[in-house]
């Protein structure tokens, strides 16, 4: 038995970037369980603590919304095409963990040592910056920096640093608080 599942952009980081994956299950619920085995964390993004589908995510079986079928008990058969479709908006990534902390080492290029890059970072992005240590001379600038905020915001702040030529290295793994 094989069910094709269409994965929306926001969840593709869990499926190694795949936009379609194969799975199985007699019902929608079973399918979600199996998908979560294959791609850890997927079910949590789609269902709340009680196991119900989150109200800003829909699941379609062959183009029909399961809420108008038998919801998570909707039976599936070989060859079915399942689409997962979250609400999207330009400014918003759903289920984006909001409060993560990331610690990084920064190495500044010579010409930017004088620039208040950390200040610009806090001003430009919705992240809380916390300097844990720094060694700035005229020759080289080193800094241990802690960033708090949404994953997207932090990603963007780090992209920005890299674009400015700052070398960014992780200190330790992300901690979801």
């Amino acid at each position: 038995m094989s069910i094709t599942v269409r994965i929306p952009q926001p969840l593709r980081k869990l499926t190694n970037g795949l936009s379609e994956v194969s799975s199985s299950g007699q019902t929608a619920k079973e399918l979600l369980g199996n998908l979560d085995q294959q791609y850890a964390g997927l079910k949590e993004r789609l269902c709340d603590e009680t196991g119900a589908l989150r109200r800003f995510v829909n699941i379609y079986v062959n183009d029909e919304d399961i809420r108008f079928l038998q919801d998570l008990d909707t039976p599936l058969k070989d060859g079915d095409l399942v689409s997962i479709v979250p609400a999207i908006a330009g400014g918003v990534e759903e289920n984006d963990p909001k409060n993560i902390t990331r610690k990084i080492y920064l190495t500044f290029p010579h010409k930017q040592i004088q620039e208040p890059i950390v200040w610009r970072l806090a001003k430009k992005f919705d992240v809380i910056t916390n300097i844990r240590g720094a060694s700035v001379s005229e020759e080289i600038g080193l800094m241990a920096l802690e960033l708090k905020g949404g994953t997207t915001d932090i990603e963007r702040a780090i992209s920005y640093l890299k674009e400015l030529g700052v070398k960014v290295e992780p200190i330790e793994k992300d901690v979801i608080e």
Partner: protein, 269 residues
Amino acid sequence: MKLTEQQVNRYSRHIVLPEIGGKGQRKLLESRVLCIGAGGLGSPALLYLAAAGVGTLGIVDSDNVDLSNLQRQIIHSARSVNMAKTESAKSTIQALNPDVNVNIYQTRLTRDNVLDLLSDYDAVLDGSDNFPTRYLMNDACFFARKPLFFGSVFRFEGQASVFMPGQNGPCYRCIYPEMPPADLVPSCQEAGILGAVPGIIGLIQATECLKFLLGIGSSLLGRLLIYDALSMTFNMLTIRQDPNCLLCGKQPTIHQLQQYDQEVCETGQ
């Protein structure tokens, strides 16, 4: 209303189409469309509605043009950075087609001003980039019985549909009953987007709007279009009016516009 010879010339590629003709073109010139946002979705939508000769366009946006908008908001230009988006969009539209009357509203949409704004228009094109505005527009269009041309984008993906209050199709709340809780919604700063994605979605909204004004073709009513630019696929899903919808269902509990709590940031995606 009679077309001038200049109008016959300008719109000749429409007029020769049996589905449009002089009659359809006159309908467009007499139509009034309100566009929410002059951003990523509003840019192409407004330009093509204006080119098509929609007689009156309203534009709601409280924002100024930022350099980072120009990667996709093609109705603006480098000269218009820091100018109000409404003003910038208006001047581009008038340069393209002086036939079009442009009304601009440089304001945030709230439950206090939205119904008043809507009352003047035949149709609403939602080019907003955030959930509070989207739910506000959905509810307001339902109460005011205005067709709503919906579009939404995220990274490489887009969605589009048409909501027609009173016509058996769903509203946005039938699809997504509630907006994601505020603590799951990050800052107002937009996530990334391939610029051409809102281009296509905004054009689909404009096309559906033109078809509605002309009374031709089959609309996206009851269908949700899902576009994925990376795989270049267009999937069509069936969407239905939800009898349990709190707004348009059988026992509605929403009888007036809500307090849409999350901070509304930029109007236009």
